[in-house]
Amino acid sequence: MPTLTIDNQTVTVPDGTNVLEAAQQLGIVIPHFCYHEALGAVGSCRLCAMKFEQGPVKGIEMACMVQAQDGMVVSTVDAEAQELRAAVIEWLMLNHPHDCPVCDEGGECQLQDMTIAGGHGIRRYRGKKRTWINQDLGPFIEQEMNRCIQCYRCVRTYRDYCGGDDFGVMGSRNRVFFGRFKEGKLESPFSGNLADVCPTGVFTDKTCRFRSRSWDLQEAASICPHCSLGCSVIPGARYRELQRVRSGINRQTNGFFICDRGRFGYGHVNHPERPRTPKLQGADAAWPEALQLARRRLTDIAAKVGPEAIALLGSPRASLESLALLHDWAKQLGGARFCGDPQPGRDRAARQLTALLGSRARSLEDVRRSDCLLLVGSDPLNEAPLLGLAVRQAARRGARVIVIDPRPVELPCNFQRLSTGPEELPQRLEHLVSTTEPTDDLSTLRTLLHQAERPILCGGGDLLGEVGIRQLAAAADHFGTGLFVTLGGPNSYGAALLSGDGPDADQLCEEMLAGKIRALVCLENDPLADGPQRMARALGKLEFLLILDHAPNRLSRQADVFLPTTTVAEGSGTLVNNEGRMLSFSTVFNPGIPLGISSEGGHPPRSFSPTTAGGEPRPAWAVLAQLRGENQSPEMIRRKLEGRDSRFAGLSLLDPDGEGQRVRGGGHPAGSHDQSFPHPAPEGSLPLLVVEQLFGSEQLASLSPALDAVQPDPQVLLHPETAAARGLKEGDTIALHTELETFSLQLKLNAAMTPGLLLATRLRDTPLELFAPGSPTPCLVGKGGGDA
């Protein structure tokens, strides 16, 4: 812990801290470009010059390149250092164009701030400026190379931190160019971070090009709703339109970066088909009328048939506050059925995880610092991209990465792949801990895990299922390590904690078919898209269906009562991420039809109205409180939940800008359930495994028009050997006959996947949407076939 003096102030910093960081701790701002907390220092911008007056280093040095040592006396205001900084920033600005008015970085330009801070105010250079021909880098990132100051941050982010290899630096002397070898889409799923790290306007967000200045945006700390990791994000809205999402900083979860799904998947908030008015059987209605009808019908059914005839179905994308109100409502009704997740497989996996995690919980930061990672049934880049990024950081520090998965998993780092069938995952884990077969292919893995100091077992909830998670926890205990399991949605963990050992959606479906359940309340879920497969039939047996949702819901027209709710960006609340960390988010803006849509591109209306067009959606917790006839605030709900359930202690004190807090205590696994196939697999069938894809699978992001350009084509993957045995070749259109549906898909061969398995991605608005992700279905393969 060296102690040094900077500008006559003494500071003690941890070992390995550089002088620039030490100065930042004192609140001294020194211009710098190449230094970034996540990327480290390279000393290439030459801007953070300080005068080292006494101690082991003497003279003018770059502060980011000097480790803080005892006895250093440093001056940042020394005339010589200031003069050097002013000269350096003047050189950096020589070729910078005169286009700030049309640059999207304007208003949040670090180059501008640093130029002024560096002491260069008036341009002296009158010569000609260097120009470039820009590249088209795909639908997400806009390039304007003229503005480049060669700080190398983009390459260090894209190649070093994110592991992309299709972007780099090329050229010589003052012709150093940052881009792709050929024009084209940036392939890394983390390409959007270029817009965040570029200190000037070379790389900007194409989806909000020329939309707003940063000072006009309404911004607040929020949580990304597109996977279970709970990355910190800062959405920005203007004129009732969510216009961009940038990465927030949470050192325990995402660190400094987010993935492209989280960054560009915000379009669901502005979706033109988003339901914004309460509806009674498809017809627009007023709030009081709709609320009154819903309340009356539910009390009638509860009084007539009993409270067990009402089912309340939550969702992993609903906030903890609204789920808690829903859960409490079930009790208040006298024992209505409550289930937190419409997808039974994911629900059971999540509940199993909440029951087992406890002290085995590890954070993404722990993953980044791990020295041996075993990924079982987890495809990070498709299921939870930031886990892939964290795995890369561990690998860069020398960690060994081993993947056991039936899919052709790709990672942005080197790893060892052990192929296996989707149903053999639990057995493989069992073999891993049993010492009876010491010489199988798992023996090296066993040794690695025993030798490692900080190993972590990562899993994917979809493929592991509840049995797999139990095995993974047993393996974690055997090796004395922790777990990091990804789940289905942003609040899967919270929903599972509240569900406890209550029924799952499958059971609710059975009871609906049996006529025991007469009324169903769906909170922010689409049971037709994400529910059990029999849901469509079961819904027909209901007397009353109430839906609360903010996304275009298939049932919004059919439901007896539909009530519009707000999205994550339009309300405040709490989500519990996959490691049981409660993360709160605050309101970015109030709902309403975006001005760009309501004015059809023209100027805003020239008339005044006391209400906002499309401003009717209300936060789900508020709607639920009104349905219960109460007047509640999120603070009251949080305090009540804390008081009722000690696992959520500290909930009311959470800070949206903070790092969140783990829940105290676990949940219950779901009750026993028959998981065998209803029918034996037919002769000659192959298991069809439908899995999540980075783009196109997650419901909210699939509604974002910005992601349309990267939507993958539906196709089915097969191992070349399996294909050859059946006389199929790449590009064939094959017909797939499943119990659910028959459809045809184009065949693609992949040698990295497990043989004897059909692999398809669960794309929204295709027949594949109906399949529960991660659980194999027997499927007969035929040649040809009509249209998909």
Partner: protein, 176 residues
Amino acid sequence: MNLYQDIKATAQAYWITLRNMFRKPVTIQYPEQKRVPFERYRARIVLTRDPDGGERCVACYLCSAACPVDCISMQAAEAEDGRRYATWFRINFTRCIFCGMCTEACPTRAIQMTADYEICRRDPLTLVYEKEDLLIDGPGKEPDYNFYRHAGIGVVNPRGQGEEERPPADVRSLLP
């Protein structure tokens, strides 16, 4: 003593009135008679065009940021040729205090103030000016300035062929 003061004050007041009776009056018979303001008088705001006839405004939002009463609003968009322009631009003259901060902030000389001071209407909504009400046909002050000729992003001239630009760098060249 008091009597002397009273007489003096009365006489002085009459004297001032008497003296001004023979002066030329400063008031004019508005609106029959109109005053011609100075060239740099700050009144009704206009949006000007560059010497080539294109809109000067690039919708950079600096005027709306500088405006102390928040009377300017706009939405930027990109034209097919890459030009940034305002799809709509609104100045609420019921709120404007004619301070001139917007013209000072404008980096492209688009927003300028004219000497037209006669801006009053019975209906306040008619004082909310849209882009078509604001845009004039001429360049106004600084008639030769065209921002895009200096920006180097290649809207009015191909990239790298502006007066202050070198031709685009050749990335693949290995020459020293």
